[in-house]
Amino acid sequence: MSEKQKKTPKNTKKVKKTVLVTGAAGALSQQIINRLRDTYQIVAVDFRKLTFHSDDIPSYKIDFNKRGFEDLFKQYDFDSVIHLGRISSSEETRMSRYNANVLGTQKLLDLSHKYGINNVIVLSTYHVYGASPYNPALIDETAPLKAAELTMDLVDSVELENLANIYLWRYPDLNITILRPCNIVGPGVKNTISSLLSSKYAPTLVGFSPIMQFIHIDDMADAITLAHKKRIRGVYNVAPSDWISYQDALTHCGCTEIPIPSIPPVLPKLITGLLDLKMFPTYLINYFKYPVVINAKTFNDTFGFKAKRPLKEILRTYKEMKE
């Protein structure tokens, strides 16, 4: 008998399967919870703040690295984990991001293994590929993760991936599905790119306008829900089959460009460093200079996924927000 079964109270008959959703304070988690709440018992956790979802959804603010985190696994009979609780590179310090994203994820995966969970979704990011002038377009999942080579501020993203990959192969029973989405945008999303598209003025690097991909938060939530339902382990890029240059995207969103000199390369780093712009951080500068276009064919073919929200509509929403 597995430990998980031992911990299930004998007199408790489970009606619904239980899902642990991390990063519960984020807009994406809210979307996932809305999609799963009728079918599953949801337990929401976040290490940043306590959020209220509804009376039937227990919510916790908890540090994954603290011993108390395991109590949740003892208290609830989790069947699956949807790990969205990644502190993005624009938040917190490098060390706290490392602790939360890498060590926190390790703890989560260890506990998932210990308690016999057999369905784990890990949200990663396309940033792990790194923005380099030598990137081919339509990067496949097998491409090397070069982000750490370009900036130390993305080390935690790459390490999180490496860790999840090790667990994926070492513990096949966990059925880990790692999703690497392109830029997630839409209402409530507070990442770097969404903040830029929302703002009236957005920095650009003179002479550079890389091709970008945007996935609507609703489509991303659909993709995660689908991955959770189908339970096919592996690493998958997630992106719609549509593309636009960064500067054209800003125009469609009604943003006014603030050009930043791009050469010599040290100049934009110096300027953004001095200005300390949260929405245009120095370590993400290369992503506004060189394209990182991912190939989502494997995910689409394996899971039968197709993004539904048209790119034009996604960008128009940002424009309408400004009017």
Partner: protein
């Protein structure tokens, strides 16, 4: 109205618009493909380039019907003239072809994406970083690809070395074999005389981080350009040693050499 829409309305003729709309290009809802190609920018640039192609260089494409109407194809040519004029002329010749026009993608040196404006501009008109992954995915998409296996060894050579083919990389034959793709050899005559270079300031090139800094006239000469497209060359997909692949590369090189000689014989004068 955006600047792009304004320029398109002002510059792109109805005929050219119709000609280019005949070409089926797999782009997204806003006119971009994953490599940065943009339908509107391409139309504007081809409109502007029309006069340069027809009146300035008086380009004569010969045997252009050898390029298949559809499906993957590698168009392999000699490289010359310091700037990527040769690739642009081959691209325009195919887009302007009356029967089954095509918009080929030129493979460019790895240095271009780092140059402000130029890198994005080249991508928007269809040029792509010369990377084997890019090339393989485009062939899978059924694209026509223009490549110069001499690379900067060809484009940056001096006037005294004109029409002497430099070493070819083997990558294009590997791709042709793997993706069962025909090779169309092309002999470009005339581009060597557009920007004759008499020396290369290597220390300055090193300082600026660019492949070469030619000592040349500060303008492009109106040399007459002849493009000779050869018969398709097919290579079967076999497990070959690199030496055997090199022999296949030499076969293509020899075909290009023949087409260059043909073009030089056909030319009545550098500017005529």
């Amino acid at each position: 109205m955006s600047l792009k829409s304004f320029l398109k309305a002002k510059l792109v003729s109805k005929e050219l618009n119709q000609q280019l709309d005949k070409i089926d290009k797999p782009v997204g809802s806003l006119g971009y493909d994953p490599w940065g190609f943009n339908t509107d920018t391409n139309k504007i640039v081809l409109s502007l380039f029309s006069g340069i192609y027809h009146k300035y260089f008086r380009v004569e494409p010969k045997g252009i019907e050898n390029v298949p109407d559809s499906g993957p194809v590698l168009i392999i040519a000699n490289h010359s003239g310091q700037l990527p004029i040769d690739g642009t002329l081959i691209g325009y010749a195919l887009a302007n072809r009356k029967k089954s026009p095509r918009l080929p993608r030129a493979m460019i040196e790895r240095f271009f994406p780092t140059v402000p404006f130029l890198g994005n501009f080249l991508n928007q008109v269809g040029a792509v970083l010369g990377d084997p992954d890019n090339c393989a995915k485009m062939l899978e998409n059924g694209e026509a690809i223009v490549a110069f296996p001499e690379g900067i060894r060809g484009s940056g050579k001096l006037y005294k070395d004109r029409y002497q083919l430099q070493r070819f990389g083997n990558g294009f034959v590997h791709l042709a074999m793997k993706h069962n793709t025909p090779i169309i050899p092309v002999g470009v005559v005339g581009c060597e005389e557009t920007i004759p270079a008499f020396a290369n300031i290597k220390p300055l090139a090193k300082l600026l981080g660019i492949p070469y800094v030619p000592v040349a006239l500060p303008f492009v000469l109106p040399a007459k350009v002849i493009l000779n497209f050869g018969e398709p060359i097919h290579f079967s997909n076999e497990d070959l040693t690199e030496e055997q692949v090199t022999r296949r590369v030499e076969k293509v090189k020899s075909a290009i050499n023949g087409l260059i000689s043909k073009g030089l014989e056909e030319r009545e004068g550098i500017f005529q």
